[in-house]
Symmetry: C2
Subunit: 104 residues, 2 copies
DNA sequence: ACCATACATCAACAATTGTTGATAAGTCAA
DNA sequence: TTGACTTATCAACAATTGTTGATGTATGGT
């Protein structure tokens, strides 16, 4: 299935619209972490975090890498560029241009 | 009720995590619009848009202004700064710093 | 081969979010 | 004041999202 740019944005923002997931991202700012570290850090159940990590991964905000029994998650720098693009686009076009007034 | 910075971010991203709302923002890039214009542009029911506009407003992404019978909505430049701050913070701390390896 | 560990997936359920049509509230014009 | 018009709000319902505990899968140690 083909996703428009806007649908991709929806996916990205949805991934960011949850407290637990923002906390996960925050932890990952300190570098790669395995799930066991994250569950301990967030005092959370394992399946719960697995769910949220999946959401973040599907939005391509994070990458995973298996090493032995452990899976390490890390921030994906590409996603940050996507975010920057969106914000730039919104900003550039936020000129206080004249209202349409078509309904006056 | 006091909101942490992160809870504000959740609110902001939630507002952005919907196709209809992104379309609304897109329309508002052309300047202030009244609800009647927006309903026509998006081929959408009025109460539906009213709902989404409320979400955007509560996230402080847009402002409203009454003029006679009409209510005009417009992008709020401050929100864009909040977005920029978030992205900058995420970016700056995305150093590919060493993993913790505490579980090895 | 067996067991323990680390993580993913699933099903059942709970909570939140979005839609629709009806009604209410505010504004203006006659 | 009556009525038309624009928008907001509400209640009922539908759809999506998140949680929990149980089970499945892969890996490595003994």
């Amino acid at each position: 299935m083909v996703k428009t740019q806007r649908e991709k944005a929806v996916l990205l923002f949805h991934a960011l619209s949850d407290l637990t997931r923002l906390e996960l991202l925050d932890k990952l700012k300190n570098g790669e972490q395995c799930v066991c570290d994250l569950t301990e850090a967030l005092h959370s159940g394992q399946s719960r975090l697995s769910f949220h990590l999946k959401v973040l991964k599907e939005a391509e905000l994070i990458n995973d890498r298996r090493e032995g029994r452990w899976v390490y998650y890390a921030l994906n720098p590409d996603a940050i560029e996507d975010l920057e693009d969106f914000v730039r686009d919104l900003k550039e076009t936020t000129r206080l241009g004249g209202a349409s007034k078509s309904c006056a």
